[in-house]
Amino acid sequence: MLTCKEVVRLLGSGEKFTLGRRAGLLMHLFMCKHCARYSRQLKILKQGLVVLFKSKTEVDPKVVKELEEKVIHTLCKKS
């Protein structure tokens, strides 16, 4: 049986688990309220970050276009 400490490590590593490991993990999460909470927190965190990254990396196509031109210009000068 996995301990809570081990479960927390496993959840954070993002590794692909073997079937047995996965079953053990799910079993633990099913029975342990605290680890289930932890797991839920990580999911919420991920969703929040996705939204944050999306808003941070929303770029105006015009700005990208300008940047491309500038890069090409610089590279032409260099070569």
Binding site: I44, L52, T74
Partner: protein
């Protein structure tokens, strides 16, 4: 130095091939057009402001064409470019000395458990956690507390959904190391948010 301008090679075929080889990777306008947006977003995701991100992308391309002979077609050109981006970002942004060291984060995580590996006290109620996580400013503050490698790994993995082997090449780490990096990144963020919520409650 020659003053003669070389024409830009319009090698569209280099974009079609899965792994462009050195010969197809000359100064290629289509390549710049294909990857500049992604690199720019990557730089913004790493926390650079717009002007800084632009300069960073510019220097990535310059370096790319300087060292392209080292690109042996073993990885995808996108992976190669992001590797340069990561290294450039590291040069530009010296790590903030005030960041909490990794050992302290490991200790903090371990401190939640008793000697039998059970929780000493329950983690924060997910509802409260959710409310906090919806406050973008709060998440952003926590994100700024991540060392660059952890932030980069997180960006690539969770947002851009790069494959594990690509991320390992970009950061130049093993798969096991990447697991540790991701664990620490998540632990830092989670601890940070939980801490901020508890601080607020104490007010």
């Amino acid at each position: 130095m020659s003053t003669q301008k070389k024409p830009i090679i319009k090698s569209v075929s280099s974009l079609e091939a899965d792994k462009p080889t050195v010969s197809t990777l000359r100064l290629s306008e289509p390549l710049v057009r294909e990857y500049t947006a992604a690199l720019f977003k990557g730089a913004l995701g790493l926390g650079f402001l717009e002007q800084g991100a632009r300069d960073l992308v510019q220097s990535v391309w310059v370096t790319f064409f300087e060292i392209q002979s080292k690109f042996e077609g073993r990885s995808h050109v996108r992976t190669f470019l992001f590797g340069i981006l990561y290294n450039k970002a590291r040069e530009k942004r010296r790590e903030d000395k005030r960041l909490i060291p990794d050992e302290d984060i490991e200790q903090l995580v371990d401190s939640h458990f008793d000697e039998r590996g059970r929780w000493r006290s329950p983690p924060l109620d997910p509802e409260k956690f959710l409310q906090a996580a919806q406050t973008m400013k709060l998440i952003e503050e926590c994100l700024d507390g991540l060392p660059l490698a952890q932030r980069m790994a997180f960006c690539l993995r969770e947002i851009d959904e790069h494959g594990t082997s690509d991320i390992c090449k970009i950061l130049d780490v093993t798969v096991t190391n990447l697991g540790v990096i991701l664990f620490r990144a998540k632990a830092r963020l989670r601890e940070c948010i939980e801490h901020k919520v508890k601080d607020r409650e104490d007010l």
